[in-house]
Structure formats: structure tokens, C-alpha cells
């Protein structure tokens, strides 16, 4: 798959900063731009929810409940007669936060655990992995429930809980990648050159594990939002009147036959957001890889 770049052959190349190079490649990737646009739209709408919202997201109007989309209520109303569109604008704030922060927590804790476990191996690895086994044996949502129960109910704790619930996934994923990459000769070369273990892990090995981490993260954003919805459904997450996509979705489930718009639109919103992160994630993966960049 090596492409011979005839024009560049023999021509000195200007050194450009790595970050700029990555960005340049990202914006040239059409799919990634679409993804960035989608995410950007969601962010703008969430941040400026009070501007965009046509109604008070908490104002109930029982005489107007379960209305299908109309000119007054663009996406209809829910079981308490609240405007769905306005609730979704406000809900985006919480859902975006849950998705992003929980993935950050999962990555920041899970990746180092997996990297250290895979790199050093031996007893440390055995102990860590048995512990991860136990965590993986529980479904993520159950693990999140346990954590929320310990930490207490609340949106912040839901972010932490879903983040912790995704730690074993990252730990296992990264360990696998590290196991294969640490056998590469360039790692041995780094060791022969006298580089320390920390430097080898973070500068030599982890950059080569980026692809699976990015792909997993784009999916994990969706999973976390759904876990958070499940927690909300059980009364452990966002509390009753607070708008949150997952909560709206699970509340609307009861009316799926009579008022499908209550599940369709939040579902579509989650889907679109995941799609956005997916496209950006794919683009990022390619942009970060020097091989696909050139």
C-alpha cells in the first residue's frame, strides 16, 4: 500500500507542527467536517438553549399533553404537556456533558491501568486483570448503579459512575494493544537507548494504541448517555423534571404506540450525536496516523 509520491521525491519538506498537520488533515476529510458540524450544532444549541427554546422546558400544561408536532410545539408535547423541543435543547446540556465527561473519566483511568498492566506484565498484570474480570462480569449499567448508590444520586455522580463503569473496557482494550506493541523492535530500541519505562509507555507505545481507543470512545459516548438514561429511569440519575435525553426517551416509552414522537426525536438526537462523534473519531484516527496522512 506504499504510495510513491513522485512530486515530493527528493524535495525537502518543510517541518510543520504536528498539531497543525493533524488539523489540516481533519478539515480536509469531508466526513469529519460533517461530524464536526453536527457536534458543533449540538453544542451551540445546548449552550444557547434559553435563546432557542420556545417554551419553558419545565412548564407543564396537562390540557395539552401528548400533542403531536404542530406549529406551536414543533416536536409535540410530552405526557405532562411540556414542549419536547425545548426540553431537548436543555437536555442536550446534560447529555453532552454526561457523554463527554464519562468518556474522559473512563479514558483517563482505564488507559493508564491497561497500559501499565500490559507493559509490566507478571504478577501486577495477573492481579489487575482478575480485578478487571470482576468488573467486566457485571453489566456496565449494574456497575454504574453500584457506583451511584455509593456516591449518592445526582447528575455529577452519574457522570462519574458511567465513567467508572467504562474503565474496565478501556483497561482491557489498551492492555491488548500494549501487549502486541511492546514486542515491536522499536520498543526494544527505545530501551536500548536508555529511555525510561514511563517515557516508553507514553511516548512510544500509547500513541500506537490510539486507533482502538478513539473508536471505542465514540461508541462509549452513546453507551454512557444510554446508561445515564437507565439510571435516570431508576431514579438514580437526573431527577424528575430535569430534562435529559435518556430520561425523556425512557419516559416516552410508555406512550410509544400513541405518541411516538416522544421516543423518536430524542432517539434521533442521540443517534445524530453519536454519528457526529463517530465521524470525527474516524477522521481523527486517520489524521493522527502519519501513514494515512501522507
Amino acid at each position: 500500500m506504499r504510495n510513491v509520491d513522485l512530486t515530493a521525491e527528493g524535495m525537502p519538506r518543510k517541518k510543520t507542527s504536528e498539531l497543525r498537520e493533524v488539523f489540516r488533515h481533519l478539515v480536509r476529510n469531508r466526513a469529519a467536517v460533517v461530524g464536526l458540524t453536527i457536534i458543533g450544532l449540538f453544542v451551540v444549541v445546548s449552550v444557547f438553549a434559553p435563546v432557542f427554546a420556545t417554551h419553558d422546558p419545565l412548564a407543564a400544561n396537562l390540557g395539552n399533553r401528548l400533542q403531536p408536532p404542530s406549529r406551536e410545539h414543533l416536536l409535540g408535547t410530552d405526557e405532562l404537556g411540556r414542549d419536547l423541543l425545548s426540553r431537548m435543547f436543555y437536555g442536550g446540556r446534560i447529555s453532552l456533558n454526561i457523554g463527554i465527561i464519562s468518556v474522559l473519566i473512563g479514558v483517563l483511568i482505564g488507559v493508564p491501568i491497561g497500559a501499565v498492566s500490559g507493559y509490566f506484565g507478571g504478577k501486577l498484570d495477573i492481579i489487575t486483570q482478575r480485578f478487571i474480570d470482576i468488573m467486566i462480569a457485571f453489566p456496565g449499567i449494574l456497575l454504574a448503579i453500584v457506583v451511584v448508590t455509593v456516591l449518592g444520586v445526582g447528575v455529577e455522580n452519574v457522570m462519574i459512575a458511567t465513567g467508572i463503569a467504562s474503565v474496565p473496557i478501556y483497561a482491557r482494550l489498551v492492555r491488548g494493544s500494549v501487549l502486541s506493541i511492546k514486542e515491536q523492535s522499536y520498543v526494544a530500541a527505545a530501551r536500548a537507548a536508555g529511555l525510561g519505562d514511563v517515557r516508553i509507555i507514553f511516548r512510544q507505545i500509547l500513541p500506537n494504541c490510539l486507533a482502538p481507543i478513539i473508536v471505542q470512545s465514540t461508541f462509549q459516548i452513546a453507551t454512557s448517555i444510554l446508561w445515564a438514561a437507565g439510571l435516570g429511569f431508576l431514579g438514580l440519575g437526573a431527577q424528575a423534571p430535569t430534562p435529559e435525553w435518556g430520561a425523556i426517551l425512557s419516559n416516552g416509552r410508555a406512550y410509544i404506540r400513541t405518541a411516538h414522537h416522544l421516543t423518536t426525536y430524542p432517539g434521533l438526537a442521540i443517534l445524530l450525536m453519536v454519528l457526529g462523534f463517530n465521524l470525527v473519531g474516524d477522521g481523527l484516527r486517520d489524521a493522527l496516523d502519519p501513514k494515512t496522512r501522507s
Binding site: 523492535s185 527505545a190 536500548a192 500513541p207
Partner: protein, 331 residues
């Protein structure tokens, strides 16, 4: 600091080096045996010399090279670099030793980090050893690249933008950047196209002359070894079976295994009749090496004593060292 600066202190001394890999079985991964990859290897390499380790795949020659550089922990034995203990060194002392001893790998495709430009990979090494940073580091990187037959602007390139031969030049440049005295060349040309091999060999020889390098040259290609080496050590099943000056070795190999190896070199003249020694059977498993001489299961001259008494590596009058009961009869 007490290294006696005398010329006759070997650059590298290896004493009874052993590397056993544990075989783990069962749920509890209990150690049920060992693969004796390197089993008591002893040799010296003098300054400016090229010492070649030869043998078929799996005989432990690469593991020996890696154990010397502590890329894999040795099970037992000692390694001295200019009289300084390598295997026991730590901290600042080990860093200094690392600088002096470098390695060139067999496969140039896995030897370079795909995510780093050549310049940043070599620059990082220079920074760690506080040899250079910033503009000075860039200069040094370009200097070693040019010295290895590449161009200065190649430092901004990623590994995948190079051909196999160029990559191997980069690998050599990286080893050279730290200004080492001793380089383990672990089959440096066997992954390359034949047309490139000679270029890399010439480069290695050229660098040896310019920088007074000492090589441990690991190879299974006896014709390359004949060209490169000053002395040759033959390994079989983790043990050295013969060590000799190159000329002596190619003129009159004493160990039956060496004789078989040499008889396998193709001769360019088709009219020359040659006696080929074809060995029977396979190499025994290093997890379960035969008693006595490791070679007795395939040796055409096997005697009773070979099956029970392991022969020691002893010197003959010609300076050969051979581990064989035929050459040194047991009294």
C-alpha cells in the same frame, strides 16, 4: 571509573551467560520446565573487532545479543563492557553503558516507531542522554543521517516513507547517534533485498573504520560472515561449539557442526565438486536438550562418550576453541 585504559581489556566479555525461558502450564501457570535459549556462553570481543555469532534459527544467537544489552534479563552469568559489570549496573552507570552499547535490528519495518518522524525519534534519544537539544540536536540528527547515506531533510520524514534499505540506514543512524563504541548487529541484512544487502554491509564496515566500532555480528549467512567477521563463534542449541579466527575457521572448521554448516555454502564455480554433509534429523528442542554433547543426536562421528559427557570449549594449538570429544579426546 576504575576502567584500566589498557588496549588488551576486551571491549566486551561474556562469561557463562545463560537465558532460560520458563515454560508455564496449567491454570496456575506453574513453571514446568525451561527453554534453555542460551546455556552458558563465554567469549570476548576485542576493540575494533567484528565477532560473528552464527548458527541456525533458534540456536540462541539473537537472545545472546539481547541479553548482553539487557533487553531481556539474563538468567545467570556476567557481561563486562571494558571491564565494567553490565548486568549489575543501575542508574547513571547503566545510562552511560547504554550510550556505549547499541543495537541494529533485523527487521527495519518494526524497528522504527511509525508515529514519529526520524528526526524526533533520534532527537528524543539525544535529549534523554542530554547530548543535545534544540538546534544542536537537529544538527546532530542530520549529521548522522548523512553519515549513513541519507539526506538531511529525511529527518522530517516518517518511517513509512522510506524503503527497506533506507529504513535500515535510519536504524543504523539511530544507533550511531549516541556515539557508541560497541554495536550488536542482529541479522542486520537478512530482511533486506539482496541488492541492498551489500550496501548495508559496506556502510557497516565504513562506519567501523571511521568510528573504531566493535561489532557483535549475528547472522546465519556464512558468506556474509566470511566477508565481515574477524572471528567467528558457532552456536548450537544455546551453546558455543566453536570459536576461531575467520581464516582458521573457513580453512579448517573443527567441529562437525561447523563442517556441516560450511559445506552448505553454495560455490559459484559449478565444476568444483564438493562434499556436502547433510545432517540427519532436526535440532532437538531447547526445552529438553540431549545429555552429553548437544550435537550428538545428529553428529556423523558420534561416539559413546558424546552421549554422556558434555564436551568443554577448549583451545587447540591453532587458536581454535572447540567443544568436541573428537578434537579433545576424554582421557
Amino acid at each position: 571509573m576504575s576502567a584500566p585504559a589498557v588496549a588488551d581489556v576486551p571491549v566486551l566479555s561474556v562469561r557463562d551467560l545463560k537465558k532460560y525461558f520458563p515454560i508455564r502450564t496449567g491454570v496456575l501457570s506453574r513453571v514446568s520446565g525451561h527453554v534453555k535459549a542460551v546455556d552458558g556462553v563465554t567469549f570476548d570481543i576485542q576493540a575494533g573487532e567484528t565477532f560473528a555469532l552464527v548458527g541456525e534459527s533458534g540456536c540462541g544467537k539473537s537472545t545472546t545479543g539481547r541479553a548482553i544489552l539487557r533487553l531481556t534479563g539474563a538468567t545467570d552469568g556476567e557481561v563486562y563492557y571494558q571491564g565494567e559489570d553490565v548486568l549489575g549496573a543501575s542508574g547513571e552507570r547503566m545510562r552511560r553503558l547504554r550510550k556505549a552499547m547499541q543495537i541494529v535490528f533485523q527487521d527495519p519495518y518494526s524497528a522504527l516507531n511509525p508515529r514519529k518522524t526520524v528526526g524526533s525519534a533520534i532527537g528524543e534519544i539525544l535529549r534523554v542522554h542530554r547530548m543535545a537539544s534544540g538546534a544542536e540536536s537537529r544538527e546532530r540528527v542530520e549529521e548522522v543521517l548523512v553519515r549513513c547515506g541519507l539526506e538531511a531533510y529525511h529527518s522530517y520524514r516518517y518511517p513509512h516513507e522510506f524503503s527497506g534499505g533506507q529504513r535500515q540506514r535510519v536504524v543504523i543512524a539511530r544507533a550511531l547517534a549516541l556515539d557508541p563504541r560497541f554495536i550488536v548487529a542482529d541479522e542486520p541484512i537478512s530482511a533486506l533485498d539482496v541488492s541492498i544487502q551489500s550496501q548495508i554491509i559496506n556502510l557497516l564496515e565504513d562506519l567501523q573504520d571511521s568510528f573504531q566500532l566493535t561489532y557483535l555480528f549475528i547472522s546465519h549467512d556464512l558468506s556474509v560472515v566470511r566477508h565481515m567477521a574477524d572471528r567467528v563463534g558457532v552456536m548450537y542449541l544455546g551453546k558455543l561449539v566453536e570459536v576461531a579466527e575467520k581464516r582458521e575457521f573457513y580453512r579448517e572448521p573443527l567441529h562437525p557442526y561447523s563442517q556441516a554448516l560450511l559445506s552448505a555454502i553454495p560455490v559459484s564455480d559449478p565444476t568444483v565438486k564438493k562434499k556436502r554433509i547433510i545432517l540427519q534429523g532436526d535440532v532437538p528442542s531447547p526445552a529438553n536438550p540431549p545429555a552429553g554433547c548437544p550435537f550428538h543426536t545428529r553428529c556423523p562421528y558420534v561416539m559413546d562418550v558424546c552421549r554422556t559427557v558434555p564436551p568443554a570449549l577448549l583451545q587447540t594449538e591453532t587458536g581454535h576453541s572447540v567443544a568436541c570429544h573428537l578434537v579433545h579426546p576424554v582421557t
